[in-house]
Amino acid sequence: MEQSYLLTYLLAIPLIGSLLLIFINKEKEQLVKYFGLAVSLIAFVISLIIYFGFDNQSGDFQFVEKFNWVRGLNISYHVGVDGLSMLLILLTTFLTPLTLLSSWNGIKKRVKEFTFFMLILELGMLGVFVSLDMFLFYVFWEAMLIPMYFIIGIWGYDRRIYASIKFFIYTMAGSLLMLVAIIWLVVYSANILGGFTTNLLDLYKTGPTIDKSIQGFLFLAFALSFAIKVPIFPFHTWLPDAHVEAPTAGSVILAGVLLKMGTYGFLRFNLPLFPQASLDYAVLISVLAVIGIIYGALVAMVQTDMKKLVAYSSVSHLGFVILGIFALNQESVQGAVIQMINHGLSTGALFLLVGMIYERTHTRKISDYGGIAKIVPFFSFALLFTSLSSIGLPGLNGFIGEFLILIGAFKSTVLNSWWFTVFAATGVIFAAVYLLWMYKKVVFGEVTNHNLDSITDLNLREKLVLIPIFVFIVWIGIYPSTFLNVSSKTSEKIIKLVTSPQNQIELGKVDAPK
Amino acid sequence: MFSVGIVGVLTRRNAIVVFMSVELMLNSANLTLITFSSYLGDATGQLFVFFVMAVAAAEAAVGLAIIIAIFRNKLTVNIDEINILKW
């Protein structure tokens, strides 16, 4: 296949766009906003082009590009997509323009800097998903923290400094351990392969050969970093603060994409590089995941701040994804992949909606609301629709993911117990409780707070932000095969890499023939 | 003589006195060099003394200039009070 540079174009667009943005006079706010939106839309178009050129039937990496970077250590600029990253790239490029559009009126000061950081953030996110070189991946992984830190710290709410510092240091601390593990892995592989390399595909061959006990440490080092990002209980406490204090755009991108990088990390690195350790630790991590599902849901139930409620719901939902990953069969992993996308859409939409109503009322406290159904009917419908999607009503997207994960976990031979599914399924009950309870308190009932009488319903721009998300919510719910087919071969491949490590040892072969 | 110089550097509060002590230390080093040069019959020692004296002079000039600048700002040459770099 001829060399395609599409992925580099994809990464270049936000980069060049952000650099060009510097030259625009910061007084011209409208120009800045339109420019930023245009750049993110171009990136979306490019990702669509990549999607249409993507071959669902192949489990290998596609659109691969490799250029030498640091010759001595054999570090290269090595990028490529497979089924998993394809979907996540689409999610990223889809959500970024929507986020920028939703912040049109919400961000009033330093608009240019904000747009700049959002574009850099997009670059970082895309870079994480396409990197096939460990060093490159680490660079992008850490690089993403910087714009996020600023976005929360400058444009956030009351406790923004505390939240952004906590977010930054907490995430970085985990990543440092991962750096140590990366270095160890590269050095170890240098001995086997006869030379340094940070090429992931090569490391896939050497990783499983590491002695089991050491593999365990490496696995945990990587896992800590990803576990903080996801977040997995008990490493989740940065999330409520970060989400609450971040501006709407920050929350949407944080929930929509950044959290997925943790789950992506597990699938891309932990599982294939350390298969024996993955099998060893699967039960432990699944237990934490299930605890997270229930704990997150119960704590969400008693929150008084709408954003904190949605933040804890993220903990609960991503617990499902982790459970799906470590149940290690086709149903559950596919469920986990589609649930990543679903969570990005549903929780992203929830944050958008909370942001929209906040713009009008300047309060996030549930007790300040009540009875707004008559005043803002479209908003009420949108909130209900999104809540139902998040709850997992069949016919909408959430159900597909949750169902596949639960049924996979039930028959998982790695987990080997029904109890995971039994407890995780109670999360289904609690999700309905906390979301519909909030909905009832906010939307139904009588209007008690008369400051609310004059708030306006959603305008065209806001509807334009929500409707594409709703379209996908229904599409994934009714005909998920469009999306499941993209990742199915990749899921199969990853599962096989873990559950049959013997195939891997032969140097030179990564895919075992069917 | 060297030790006397050290004690002076460490314990005296007046910056000028500290400099005098430093000069004392340098001169003690000079003395040692000349003595041993004479004892060992090697002229290198005496040559080195010239270097030391030149360095001492330069350093004293710069140091005194700094003290005068500080004095102009803080009106004191008491070292204990010149602690802006304190935590």
């Binding site: 704990y295 149903e331 009875g371 069949p394 039930f410 309905a432 009832k440 139904f444 | 550097v9 010149i82």
Partner: protein, 647 residues
């Protein structure tokens, strides 16, 4: 028309979208009402057509599957949007679309003038869409889509008047309660589905049921599957222990109570168990559980219904009780009897609710029957049809209720034993009693309202014609299921029609013992006597000597109080389940575990670093001499080390 069966699902969906999107703009009640009802009417016609086509097919080839498109295809899970047309789904479809259509027409009259008229019909059509998916699905997953969908519509419709209060709380809370309790049941249903998939490798009915016969599966797996599914059924069909949502569901507009909480949604559980007859037949323990819960719920709910004063509450508990009968039938292995009662119950219970709606409408939203009385002269049609329905539910021949209830009682005796039958008969007596208590207090006797202030009147034709239609069905609907002993060669037509669906299950059960015709007629007579006795006592206590009722109530004050407060069941749940979870989450999980312990650890870690650096920073004194001191000390140590290492 069989191949068009998916239109019975799509037409209501179209109605939902049309009224949902254009409804607020159109504002014309007629158009909205016609679209809303018309879609259901068309669905009914298609169902009738499918029925005739199926009748023309040979008896053993009456199962057709119409596939629309693929839904999920992952590993062994290959589910389509596909609909199964067979005898059972046709019966249910006809009931749902037929009774549904009648209720839609009634609603045009009942909801006239409501400012959210369009929203009502939007939700109603969505409900029918979901219900049709439920009963026509050819696999568990699509059934579950309908299952949860009807739960959603129930939530939306119960809380339809979302700014109104209801009892001690709000209508919205009642809707939420319904959804949550249903979800608890759904949790069980999901587990059942998972177990089915991991045992049989598929979720499609035809696959699962044929493999249930051919695979060698241990009985305890069947029992587990059956119990899990049944938990779902107790949620949806309001049986013990998940019945608490149904009485609160009366917060919704009365047509909603009629359609959803009497005729259709609540019967979903019965349908599901009947559909899975082979699974239940393979798990006798589970069948016993079903029967016990069914009969106990029937009795329990009937006792509560005896003393309720809100017209809709009486009907709500009556519904729970009658659903108990249906499960009793299923537990006894009389699957077609259970479905028969679903049908007849749909007729007379919907009629009772619509009649109650008519009364409430004309009495300006007063629902307390102690403020009614003597309404029969103001509302003749309502009174007449209500009387028919009340008689039917009391099991008086030759109305429909008699045939279906009697069949259930007979089979519970024949297959389960005298105890079940006895409780059933006593419940039948109670049923007749509370039903006619309701009738006498509402329509007969002295007027207990101020006739200067309230002017009761008959309802408009849009409401009375549906009443008459349902009245006719309640009266003659039973003739399709005349028991064998009377109908001779024809046999029980209804039973024969459904027999192929339950054939494998009945073969497994093999327990229809031989009982004589004499026994059957004897027991039939006893149940008629019980019904008549109930009516007589009600007449005596509420019409002839009205003081008797109050005197009995005050004599047995304790028991009366317990019944009036529904055995304090809600309060018990609140105290033992709801409050511990909510308070526990708030105080223990959030405030202590999350804020203090987990987050506290992180924050304390940060403080620790802060403290350490606070101590270490003191080295920077700013005084040059201390630095010099350190330097000199360092030099000394280095010198010493050198000296020592060289000696």
């Amino acid at each position: 028309m069989i191949h068009l069966i998916y239109l019975t699902v799509l037409f209501p969906l179209f109605g939902f979208l049309f009224n949902g999107i254009l409804g607020p703009k159109i504002k014309n009640e007629k158009v909205i009402g016609i679209i809303g009802s018309g879609t259901i009417g068309i669905a009914f016609i298609i169902a009738v057509g499918a029925l005739f086509e199926t009748l023309a097919l040979p008896v053993d080839q009456r199962l057709t599957i119409i596939t629309l498109f693929q839904w999920i295809d992952v590993a062994g899970l290959n589910i389509h949007f596909a609909y199964q047309v067979d005898q059972l789904s046709l019966v249910m479809s006809l009931v749902v679309t037929g009774v549904g259509f009648i209720i839609h027409v009634y609603s045009i009259g009942y909801m006239h003038g409501d400012k959210s008229f369009w929203r009502f019909f939007t939700y109603l059509n969505l409900f029918i869409f979901a219900m049709m998916n439920l009963i026509l699905a050819d696999n568990f997953l699509l059934l579950f889509l309908g299952w949860e969908g009807v739960g959603l519509c129930s939530y939306l419709l119960i809380g339809f008047w979302y700014d109104r209060k209801f009892e001690k709380s709000t209508t919205a809370s009642a809707g939420l309660k319904a959804f949550i309790v249903n979800r608890i049941g759904d949790f069980g249903f999901l587990l059942g589905m998972f177990l089915i998939y991991s045992t049989f490798g598929s979720l499609i009915f035809t696959d699962v049921f044929s493999r249930a016969l051919s695979f060698n599966v241990p009985e305890h797996i069947f029992t587990l599957i059956a119990i899990f599914l049944f938990i779902g059924a107790t949620g949806k069909s309001a049986q013990i222990p998940l019945l608490v949502w149904l009485p609160d569901a009366m917060a919704g507009p009365t047509p909603v109570s009629a359609l959803i909480h009497a005729a259709t949604m609540v019967t979903a559980g019965v349908y599901m168990v009947a559909r899975c007859s082979i699974i239940y037949a393979s798990a006798p323990t589970a069948m016993m559980v079903v029967a016990v819960i069914g009969v106990f719920t029937a009795f329990f709910a009937a006792t509560i219904g005896l003393v309720q004063n809100d017209i809709k509450k009486v009907l709500a508990y009556s519904t729970i009780s009658q659903l108990g009968y249906m499960f009793l039938a299923l537990g006894a292995g009389a699957f077609s009897a259970g479905i028969f009662h679903v049908m007849t119950h749909a007729f007379f219970k919907a009629l009772l609710f619509l009649g109650a709606g008519s009364v409430i409408h004309s009495m300006h939203d007063v629902q307390d029957i102690r403020h009614y009385g003597g309404l029969k002269k103001y509302m003749p049609i309502t009174y007449g049809t209500f009387l028919v329905a009340a008689t039917a539910i009391s099991g008086i021949p030759p109305l429909s209720g008699f045939f279906s209830k009697d069949e259930i009682l007979w089979y519970s005796y024949a297959n389960l034993g005298i105890v079940f039958w006895l409780i059933g008969v006593i419940t039948a007596l109670l049923t007749a009693f509370y039903m006619f208590r309701l009738y006498f207090l509402t329509f007969e006797g002295k007027e207990k309202f101020d006739s200067h202030k309230t002017h009761p009147h008959e309802s408009p034709k849009l409401m009375t014609v549906p009443l008459i239609a349902l009245g006719v069905l309640s009266a003659i609907g039973g003739f399709i299921g005349i028991p064998e002993i009377f109908s001779g060669d024809h046999g029980n037509l209804f039973h024969t029609w459904l027999a192929p669906v339950f054939k494998s299950a009945e073969i497994k059960l093999m327990n229809i013992g031989s009982h004589s015709h004499f026994e059957e007629i004897l027991f039939m007579a006893i149940s008629i006597v019980a019904g008549v006795a109930g009516i007589y006592y009600a007449w005596y206590a509420y019409l002839k000597k009205p003081a008797v009722a109050d005197k009995t109530a005050s004599r047995f004050k304790g028991a009366y109080n317990i019944l009036l407060n529904k055995y304090f069941l809600d309060e018990a749940y609140e105290a033992s389940v709801v409050n511990p979870i909510v308070k526990g989450s708030e105080n223990i999980l959030w405030k202590i575990a999350d804020n203090r312990i987990i987050d506290g650890t992180i924050n304390n870690l940060a403080k620790l670093v802060d403290n350490i650096s606070g101590t270490i920073k003191k080295i920077q004194t700013g005084v040059a001499q201390s630095y010099a001191l350190v330097m000199i000390l360092g030099v000394l140590i280095a010198l010493l080390w050198l000296i020592i290492s060289y000696s």
